[in-house]
Symmetry: C2
Subunit: 307 residues, 2 copies
Amino acid sequence: MSLLVIGSVAFDALETPFGKTDKIIGGSATYGSLSASYFTKNINLVAVVGDDFPAEKIELMQKHGINTEGLQIKKGEKSFFWSGRYHNDMNSRDTLVTELNVLADFDPIIPESYQNCEFLFLGNLTPQIQQTVINRLKNRPRLIVMDTMNFWMEIALDDLHKTLKMVDVLTINDEEARQLSGEYSLVKAAKKIMAMGPQFLIIKKGEHGALLFHKDQAFFCPALPLEEVFDPTGAGDTFAGGFMGYIAKTEDVSFENMKRAIVYGSAMASFCVEKFGTERIVNLTESEITDRVKQFKQLSQIDLELI
Amino acid sequence: MSLLVIGSVAFDALETPFGKTDKIIGGSATYGSLSASYFTKNINLVAVVGDDFPAEKIELMQKHGINTEGLQIKKGEKSFFWSGRYHNDMNSRDTLVTELNVLADFDPIIPESYQNCEFLFLGNLTPQIQQTVINRLKNRPRLIVMDTMNFWMEIALDDLHKTLKMVDVLTINDEEARQLSGEYSLVKAAKKIMAMGPQFLIIKKGEHGALLFHKDQAFFCPALPLEEVFDPTGAGDTFAGGFMGYIAKTEDVSFENMKRAIVYGSAMASFCVEKFGTERIVNLTESEITDRVKQFKQLSQIDLELI
């Protein structure tokens, strides 16, 4: 069952209390597709880079089973670049540089071979581009999952609302859920956001775990308590990629199965933050992932008879 | 199996975004013993009040099966009084008034009938008083659980360290765990704090749930996502009381059983925040508690086969 991933493929330069990097690869579609690749080898990527993007990084994606036919390489142009500095608590960061470059006029072309995908992950991009992708698919995918961010709530709220009506699952963080809904309580926020379109809502709370809402049901998955969070960049996209990959592998879009998918997504995110950028998630083994999921089980699952 | 609860029995005056109260009853031992009373009727209270404390509130405790023989009533003196105002997010508060009154020279006298208790909950008081209580017990209880706060870390750290060596379980919040250990990572903080004495550590994270640590194991219990947090006062003590009550009822001090006790403690705390002060936890039914624990099960427990 094929998974279509669209989002940014880009350069990041990061500063954390543990050190700093030169330009390394990043972007929502990079993290998302690499993470999903541990669950399914039928991944089709749509993104755009400049000709400054290293060929060996594209080959790395291909080695992970990611089809890059839909990755446009713009001659004479530069890839999207973001630079940020994390504060000591790792929960907040300042943006130092944002250079849109090739993203400024990105036209998401869907190769013919990508049509009839079953699962679609819309990584963080303008709501307008996300909409265009859906409209260019001849058949609606079984499940459309969309990520977004506060920036689009500020400058493209109408477009965002239109796109929200077209998707099944929205993933956002807690502050974004509060901003989008105008409600501080996440339970109230979830109700309002689901009324905007998506039947399922995943609220990512970073070190405090993730909540899945559907109708009047909720499921909570903790984040693994870690000795050290080295670099949180990409953790949310890695989470979403693991979630989508698990759904694509199991071909089951029920609420029950989404709960399991969230545990796998959280496990993938817990690897991501252990090293800079994509370093940790390009070399995982199946048994490392299984062990991590076992840790989640031990952390949260109990034999609870009611007394 | 008897449970000895020591802590404050006091007056609070509260301001939240939802309203304000006159002087209402509060205090760590009040919340703790009321919460525990839903699990065991063998609760012995040690505390001190002035003669301004209403007799009907003492009767209310007795009706909950709480033995108040060890509640000293000081003639001509006033009860401990605390007043605070919560900020809009309900996660932080300002102290407006603290009047120690009878707590200033509290000598915790243990009635003879309280000796040989199996379980001891040391609610938040000076570490010196907590130590005195342990020293005055002829036989060491099977399980000693201690709560404390940042204030004692600032003005009585040596005493706190001495008391920590004498207890089995410490309950503190995340900020206090960071302060006590000097570590931001809660995993590192837990290791350092367990090396100070307690074999078990419970870190309370408010709306973000609670973590139990023991040796190299960890268990996480979420907080129930609520539409409205009306008043968080006493939630931590209500949590601890539910935890202790469950342990006393089941007479099982294993790590596995503590996991279940934390779920029951969290369920009790989720009631506490629904109304001002003790209002919600004085009138609970068994089926309300069972339903709430079922909600925790639905929220966090899944059928997770490894793939």
